[in-house]
């Protein structure tokens, strides 16, 4: 690996570390007034970081970050006003209190958003409403807590400064030292956040952003991760707010205003969405812009300029400064996805597959039956699943066939939990799973492969498999082991470092199947797995499905009659949401009624 490649890989560590050292050197030198103002840029950078965690990584545009920031600020300051005079050091009181309160507020809001499974637009608007509601409530909110006095729109003053020394007569830091302290705090939080986001937690948060449905189909409780991530971003924002309180010595409801809320996404966009360090760069750039424009004729138009900047950013600089630079740099490096082009056709070795499946049975127990009893699903006047009763057992693959609109996919979605049935039950082994959330069904042994390949395009092939394996094993090393086995079975070892999005359509299908196998499923549901595959690939798939059926229960929804024939299994024909005929393929092929509905002939239509 060249120096440039190495540096690129660790850019998020090396450059911020350099910037911190440089900033600390400057902190001692610069004009105290500039140091004072620059401290606020660092604090805004932290606030931006909190948004980047939830938006850039988590995928939710939260307009509630200033709410957590303000709440953390108020709460942290109240604690600091009461406790800091006795001990000196104000940071040990304000920062943890602010972070805790910010996290709590975010968790409460996040619970409503994620557990109601709100749409993205609804989530964003609700977070915005939360901010505006706080703005209007705090105008009149008055409360005395010990020495601290929250005075409605008059705000809260007498907040102690940034005090590091201990003891009753410790003095607040001067502007330069306070600047240095803020830099150190921000640096610690940035490096911690980066570590968190590069670890398992961050990996899963990334997966949720890329494809929340697939993440849940791997058995992750998506809501829990989203909630935790949101609470963490609330903690960051709350801590930033507490630091802001100490810096300004004064807080007021305007912290919840629209103007404040507007700035946060601007910081993140200027720096680069999802880069974490970009938020600081954005805050620095915007802060410096409005500082050097100053007051007067031009400076008075700061808001106008910021509004324009936001429009231009969205239109022309989607990736921000860091994203743009990163793209330029990457072009000069060798392409890690090059290996994707060298991949050969996939050949599944049934013996290897058999061994893997036996191992899986050792870990996850014997195959389970899946059944539905009078399952019923209705959309307005359309009934895609009409009292279907079926039992699926291991041994031979089951195929569901039928003309377009027969209700095959709807039936499968009802089993998976994407559709909630209005009547009847769905069982998995001995469990009634009719009302179980998707991830719970997966944990009980259901493995699902949807029609389109669902892979995490930004992750490498190896990471895709690892994420799937980790969902079951909850053990880093074991997940590594399982993923390696599946990778070699698929023959994609040469492509392990390639981004999944660089693979061909067929290869993505195989990778998706590999991810399902990582889960060691006891029941496998495949929705049109052969769609878009070459003849050769279809043959491999058929052999895979047959081997799979020897060890687990397999249900395939399929259009391709030829493929269904090669499976040599049990076939169910669905028509207008109901079971129309059952048997093996040859019998059904000879059945006139089945041909009628396939060809649209009138008698049975």
């Amino acid at each position: 690996m060249s120096i440039s490649e190495n540096l690129y890989k660790h850019a998020g560590l090396v450059f911020p570390a350099g910037a911190v050292v440089l900033a600390l050197v400057f902190a001692g030198q610069i004009d105290p007034y500039l140091a004072f103002v620059a401290t606020s840029w660092v604090i805004f950078g932290l606030l931006g970081l909190s948004l980047d965690v939830v938006w850039g990584r988590g995928g939710l545009l939260s307009l509630g970050q200033t709410a957590f920031y303000g709440l953390g600020g108020y709460f942290g300051s109240v604690v600091a006003i009461n406790l800091a005079p006795a001990t000196g050091n104000s940071l040990i009181w304000a920062l943890p209190a602010g972070a805790a309160f910010g996290a709590l507020a975010a968790a409460a809001l996040g619970y409503v958003i994620f557990f109601a499974r709100m749409g993205p637009l609804q989530s964003t608007i609700l977070s915005y409403t939360f901010t505006l509601l706080l703005w209007s409530v705090t105008q009149t909110f008055k409360l005395d807590v010990g020495e601290a006095s929250i005075g409605g729109d008059n705000g809260m003053s007498n907040i102690p400064g940034i005090v590091l020394g201990f003891g009753e007569d410790a003095e607040p830091l001067g502007p330069n030292a306070a600047f240095a302290a803020a830099i150190v705090i921000a640096a610690l939080l940035y490096f911690f956040t980066r570590w968190l986001m590069r670890g398992t937690f961050g990996r899963i948060v990334d997966c949720i952003r890329i494809d929340a449905e697939k993440t849940e189909l791997l058995g992750y409780d998506v809501r829990k991760y989203q909630l935790l991530n949101f609470a963490y971003s609330g903690a960051l924002a709350g801590l930033a707010g507490a630091l802001f309180g100490l810096w300004a010595n004064y807080l007021n409801p305007s912290i919840f205003s629209v103007q404040e809320a507007l700035l946060v996404p601007i910081y993140v966009l200027v720096g680069g969405l999802g880069t974490l360090s970009g938020a600081f760069l954005g805050a620095l750039a915007i802060g410096a812009l409005s500082f050097f424009l100053g007051g007067g004729a031009v400076g008075g138009q700061t808001t106008l300029i910021l509004g324009g900047v936001l429009i231009l950013l969205v239109l022309f600089l989607q990736n921000g400064i860091l994203g743009g630079l990163g793209n330029l740099w990457r072009k000069s490096l060798s392409d890690p996805n090059e290996a994707a082009r060298n991949a050969g056709a996939v050949k599944i070795d049934s013996t290897v597959l058999g061994e893997i499946l036996q191992d899986a049975a050792k870990d996850a127990g014997p195959a389970k039956n899946m059944g539905t009893d009078e399952a019923f699903k209705q959309f307005g006047g359309v009934i895609p699943v009409n009292k279907v009763t079926q039992t699926f057992t291991p041994g031979k693959p089951y195929s569901l066939i039928g003309p377009n609109g027969a209700g095959k996919s709807s039936f499968l979605k009802t089993c998976v939990g994407m559709y909630k049935p209005e009547g009847g039950t769905v069982t998995l082994g001995h469990d009634d799973i009719t009302h179980a959330p998707i991830f719970d069904r997966v944990r009980k042994g259901m493995g699902v492969k949807n029609q389109k390949p669902q892979v995490f395009g930004e992750l490498t092939v190896a990471d895709n498999l690892w994420t799937a394996a980790f969902a079951r094993t909850h053990d880093t090393d074991k997940a590594e082991e399982v993923a390696a086995k599946i990778l070699s079975m698929l023959g994609l070892e040469g492509q392990s470092g390639v981004q999944a999005s660089a693979l061909s359509h067929g290869q993505q299908q195989w990778l998706d199947i590999g991810m399902v196998l990582c889960l060691a499923p006891r029941v496998v549901l495949l929705d049109e797995p052969a769609a878009g595959m070459t003849n050769e690939e279809t043959r491999e798939l058929s052999s895979l499905v047959r081997t799979l059926a020897k060890h687990t229960t397999v249900v395939v929804v399929e259009h391709d009659m030829e493929f269904v024939r090669t499976l040599e299994g049990h076939v169910t024909v669905l028509h207008q949401g109901e079971v129309f005929a059952e048997g093996d393929i040859e019998t059904l092929r000879a059945d006139d009624r089945v041909l009628d509905i396939y060809l649209g002939r009138s008698e049975h239509v």
Partner: protein
């Protein structure tokens, strides 16, 4: 409680709900037909109000200033669509951010051009007596205006060629393209119509809400919430939501305080979103 007081409360709450609906319809049309949330909607309202005000001050009768305001906002809307919205099609949150920036730009420009003090045009001095109570007539007139706007938009969408094209391009985009509907042209017109409706709202509400650069903020927050709670069936959904939320908040304010009325609005909004995460009309079968 006396009957005449109750009647008064009901009547004025209906007028409050109508005012909210008037301010919301343009937003609902753009969201429903383009899937775009225009955060600068309030500023289009403001532009409409200032246009009507300026024209009235120049001597044009107030009633004639309303179509002028509509024309001006439609033109600005078309330009905005061409320069910004057009390039962000299908990127909901980017559109929101860009129009947010736009709203700030418009606001600041209004401060620059008009300053912060501008004479109002006064409210027409007629009132209606209900028992011992007396109500200003003009706000009550808004009930009729809201109804007329709803009917107009409904007819525009169902009876006009443009409306059919617009609905076709949102419901089956490739089919619409295949039969030769230029969706970019339709979108430009839709956005422009939405802005024109905002301009109409600003102008027609001018006697009630004096023109100020910040007037947009006061209105649009509730308008956004109305549209989002309404969900995909924007027109009917918004009408029902505006009636329920706006009317409910106003009734609450009549018996308690305006602050409680506001809290009512926000709490019910959150509750509805909890119960209907994709909006109340997510499972309705009608489409408009």
């Amino acid at each position: 409680m006396e009957l005449d007081f109750l009647a008064t409360v009901l009547l004025s709450s209906l007028s409050s709900a109508s005012i909210l609906l008037i301010a919301t319809i343009g937003l609902a049309v753009v969201f429903g037909l383009m899937g775009v949330i225009n955060l600068a909607h309030g500023e289009f309202l403001m532009i409409g109000a200032y246009t009507a005000l300026t024209v009235t001050q120049a001597g044009v009768p107030y009633i004639l200033s309303i179509p002028i305001a509509v024309a001006v906002t439609m033109v600005i809307g078309a330009i905005v669509e061409l320069l910004i919205i057009n390039r962000l099609y299908g990127r909901l949150f980017d559109t929101m951010l860009a129009t947010w920036g736009l709203s700030i730009v418009f606001y600041q420009l209004a401060v620059l051009i008009f300053g912060t003090v501008t004479p109002g045009i006064g409210m027409p001095q007629f009132s209606i007596a209900v028992g011992e109570y007396s109500l200003a007539g003009y706000p009550l007139l808004m009930i009729g205006v809201a109804a007329a706007m709803l009917i107009f938009v409904y007819l525009l969408m169902t009876k006009s060629v443009y409306g059919m094209k617009a609905r076709a391009s949102i419901q089956v985009p490739h089919m619409a393209q295949a039969i030769g509907i230029e969706s970019s042209r339709t979108n430009m017109l839709t956005f422009s119509v939405g802005c024109g409706l905002a301009g109409f709202a600003g102008a027609v509400l001018l006697p009630i809400v004096p023109a100020t650069p910040s007037m947009g903020f006061a209105f649009v927050i509730k308008a956004f919430l109305t549209v989002v709670v309404a969900g995909p069936v924007t027109l009917t959904g918004s009408a029902i939501t505006a009636l329920g939320l706006g009317g409910g908040a106003s009734v609450t304010a009549s018996f308690m305080t305006s602050v409680v009325g506001d809290v009512f609005f926000f709490v019910i909004t959150a509750l509805l979103l909890w119960l209907y995460p994709m909006g109340i009309s997510a499972k309705w079968r009608r489409k408009l």
